[in-house]
């Protein structure tokens, strides 16, 4: 477990800002104690200081995971979010997409969202902005990147992609071993 370098912190926050914008501050400044980001084997964990102190007793090569895994840094030093971060992204998300019930399964199998599956989209969604995907019953299913802005969505063809898939809760089953 080590601290993120300044460069990597910047990359991480830039990615998070795409989804939750200024709400990142709420992740760092929490009323219920200190929380921080730690890095282990290129994976970023969001941990409370209290748990971190306990985790320090364990040698790092024995430690599999601490706190919540937010994602990982690729070899080319880009940050990729994992589904496990959804719990923290969903409440603060700035733009959202709601899926019609038949499109839910398609999304949970890792497919992009086409316009036919789009139930609702929050206003002022920009193109390529990070969006959190909900079911119609307001259950967060995953997240992705908006392929079209809200205005463009209205005129899009029915089969064209509206949201690019990035992560979904189906991954808990599909790629269990990659998630940690």
């Amino acid at each position: 477990m080590k601290r993120l370098s300044e460069e990597r912190t910047k990359i991480l926050f830039e990615k998070l800002a795409k989804f939750i914008g200024p709400n990142i501050k709420l992740l760092i400044e929490r009323p219920d104690g200190l929380y921080c980001f730690r890095e282990q084997k290129d994976r970023v964990y969001y941990v409370s200081e209290k748990i971190l102190k306990w985790a320090n007793n364990i040698p790092s090569d024995h430690l599999i995971s601490v706190g919540t895994c937010f994602g990982k840094f690729t070899k080319s030093n880009k940050f990729r979010l994992h589904v496990t971060a959804l719990n923290y992204l969903a409440p603060y998300a700035q733009s959202k997409i709601w899926l019609k019930p038949p499109a839910e399964q398609q999304f949970l199998y890792g497919n992009h969202v086409s316009k036919t599956g789009l139930g609702r989209i929050s206003e002022n969604t920009e193109k390529y902005q990070g969006v959190v995907v909900y079911s119609m019953s307001d259950l967060p299913l995953g997240f992705g990147a908006a392929a079209r802005s809200t205005a463009e969505c209205k005129h899009a063809e029915p089969l064209s992609t509206v949201c690019f898939h990035q992560a979904d809760i189906g991954e808990y089953i599909r790629s269990e071993e990659d998630l940690l």
Partner: protein, 339 residues
């Protein structure tokens, strides 16, 4: 007379019979003088007197083996009878590891991958100019070269004052040196020795990676170890040059700080990201324009059904939605500070 008569009898008792009876015949491999007895032990006998029984058994088996050897063709060499052993059937394991093949040199690896096959060259070749046979290498070849190159042409774009002979000698010695370097490098590679890096050798032959390494090292080579050097946009640091970069260690570790301090640092980073001046986002501007047009056109259609004039004016008043859109900047309030 008595003694002579009794002696064979005594001998017969002293030496055991060469006839041995076995239920199952032994397996022989005479090449290695090996006999294998697959008969069962006489358990009763074995328990009673182990040493004696085993001694007996081994004697019998040895006798059988020697009987077999006597069946082989023999010859007499200087008072000794010698049997010719057949080729051995049993395969013995080797004592030492099979020696590893010599690791390929860099050129051998390359030629193998490319499928380049070495061509055999003739040792002598006919030289038209000298009218004689010249060997491929050796002192006679050098002599022939010297004879042939008694005068050298100056290339059109070369400096006329340059000594072409000197240049040839220089080029030759450089080739030899390069070959020697490569030879040593191959040896080091085969013995797994790490060769120290030379750094950046020649700007003419260096690759993009070498140049990146050169930039990284050069930037760190200031009195303050490159702390105040400016970064180019999208500049990446070269990897694996920490041993020749001043002030760099292989593992860079962030110093541990208190949670509060870390939080403050993180918040500062967040602020820099959020306060980035948004560049003119054409996509967004176009989208907003389209959106406005749609709203406008829909409101133009509306008066046919809704004939309230007051409502229309209210719509017009509301349309320019300043300050209500999503701002990436963290500042609240309108516009930037003007002085």
């Amino acid at each position: 007379m008595d003694m002579i008569l009794t002696k064979p009898v005594v001998d017969g008792q002293k030496y055991k019979s060469i006839e041995v009876h076995k239920l199952i015949e032994l397996n022989y491999d005479l090449g290695t003088l090996l006999a294998e007895d697959t008969n069962e032990f006489d358990v009763h006998h074995l328990r009673k007197d182990k040493n004696d029984y085993l001694l007996q058994l081994s004697r019998d088996n040895t006798q059988l083996l020697i009987n077999q050897i006597w069946c082989l063709p023999t010859e007499r060499i200087e008072d000794a009878i010698v049997a010719k052993l057949p080729i051995q059937k049993t395969r013995l394991p080797r004592m030492k590891h099979i020696p590893k093949p010599r690791p390929l040199t860099k050129w051998e690896q390359f030629s193998k991958a490319k499928g380049i096959v070495k061509k055999k060259k003739a040792k002598l070749s006919w030289d038209e100019q000298l009218k004689k046979w010249v060997p491929l290498f050796g002192y006679k070849k050098t002599q022939a070269e010297r004879e042939k190159d008694w005068v050298l042409e100056v290339p059109a774009n070369a400096n006329p004052m340059e000594d072409q002979f000197e240049k040839n000698i220089q080029a030759k010695s450089e080739r030899v040196a390069k070959n020697e370097l490569q030879r040593l490098r191959n040896i080091a590679k085969s013995k797994n020795i790490k060769v120290p890096k030379v750094g950046v050798s020649n700007s003419e032959v260096s690759s993009a990676k070498d140049l990146q390494a050169a930039v990284t090292v050069a930037k760190a080579s200031t009195a303050s170890l490159g702390k105040f050097q400016k970064e180019l946009p999208k500049e990446k640091e070269a990897k694996g040059v920490s041993d020749i970069t001043p002030g760099a260690s292989r593992k860079r570790k962030m110093p541990p700080v208190l949670g509060d301090v870390e939080k403050r640092e993180n918040l500062a980073i967040v602020d820099t990201i959020l306060n980035k001046r948004p560049k003119l986002n054409i996509e967004k501007a176009v989208a907003r324009h389209i959106n406005n047009e749609q709203v406008e056109s829909s409101s133009m259609d509306r008066p046919k059904s809704v004939k309230k004039s007051g409502r229309k004016s209210k719509d017009n008043f509301k349309r320019p939605k300043g300050n209500s859109g999503q701002r990436t900047g963290g500042k609240s309030g309108g516009g930037r500070k003007r002085r």
